[in-house]
Subunit: 219 residues, 2 copies
Amino acid sequence: MAKIGVLLSGCGVFDGAEIHEAVLTMLALDRAGATIVCMAPDVDQYHVVNHLTQEEMTEKRNVLVESARIARGEIKDLKDVKAADLDGLIMPGGFGAAKNLSDFAFKGAESTVEAEVKRILEEMSAASKPIGAICISPAPLAKALSAKKPEVTIGNDQSTAEAIEAMGGQHKTCTVDMIHVDGANKVVTTPAYMLGPGIKDVAVGIEKLVHKVLELAGG
Amino acid sequence: MAKIGVLLSGCGVFDGAEIHEAVLTMLALDRAGATIVCMAPDVDQYHVVNHLTQEEMTEKRNVLVESARIARGEIKDLKDVKAADLDGLIMPGGFGAAKNLSDFAFKGAESTVEAEVKRILEEMSAASKPIGAICISPAPLAKALSAKKPEVTIGNDQSTAEAIEAMGGQHKTCTVDMIHVDGANKVVTTPAYMLGPGIKDVAVGIEKLVHKVLELAGG
């Protein structure tokens, strides 16, 4: 039974992991018989956004603690997970990937990736284990693995695609029901809520991504 | 196209709505072509639980604001929703249903239901529109509609079942892949994470519940 990591970045699309994308990933993994290993870095969120008003709130929240909501408490501190523990890794999207796992939302092509996130991505790549990235997560992925020039998709947003290319990635336009597979790098990506519009639409690409990651993990 | 309300109680199993159950409900509704109307009461959560440690945190959160995370911001204040706006209503579970939408977690059979929650449940029932309740949500539902003696399931937990009976409900034992249908009251329930064990298991009952609510909504 494949052990697949799910790297979370908080709990909520505007300041953390996109909840639907995370849950759909877990559903597809469980249905395929995989073991799910949720994880998140033990760092403060960049900020907290009121999801009703989209205004910033004056409080602090921790990425690992909030990610534990999606994981129902079954989650590991990312620093305690090694590539040797996993057969594959999937990063759901949400602004958390671009605010907490990296600062791509603020610095674009000049962004940096959080140290433990960079470490696990580099380890997975070095071990030739598959990585799936959903929605905006291909951006930090492209930055972390820029030396490998990974092919990724975030859909069709031109400025995001240009930033990914500037970081060393190769952007491929896709629709929400598609995945892009970089076979050489074992990188699988899908646009999800970068395109939407609804949960049933993003589920199509996410299920394909999960199945492809599992196929590459078994190879 | 049926308009189905999804009544949320926060964002996280230990102090709010169970995230998987809420997302699986939305997925099944969207796939069936229904319009999803998320809603939550504008009240403080009973408390905030650190989902990593399960310890109480010294902060305040609002049920509507946190529920908006699951709804991606597309959510209504429950007080602004009338039964006339809906063809059916579904309550996902999580401790929020028993801590925020009612105080069943603390007072059992002596519990009361939050005023706006009671109001919408009574309106739906009076209008003979279907109500689905998942996991622990059948408990506040049984309390709110005790005069109708609704048949519900929360799985097989004896003390919870006894409390439901003491509030006027009629408890029916079910497994996680089952729903119980009270045809006279148009009430549909499924145990979900009252039994678990995993997301693929609870998805089976939740999909059946959604389809039955839609069938009753169209009748």
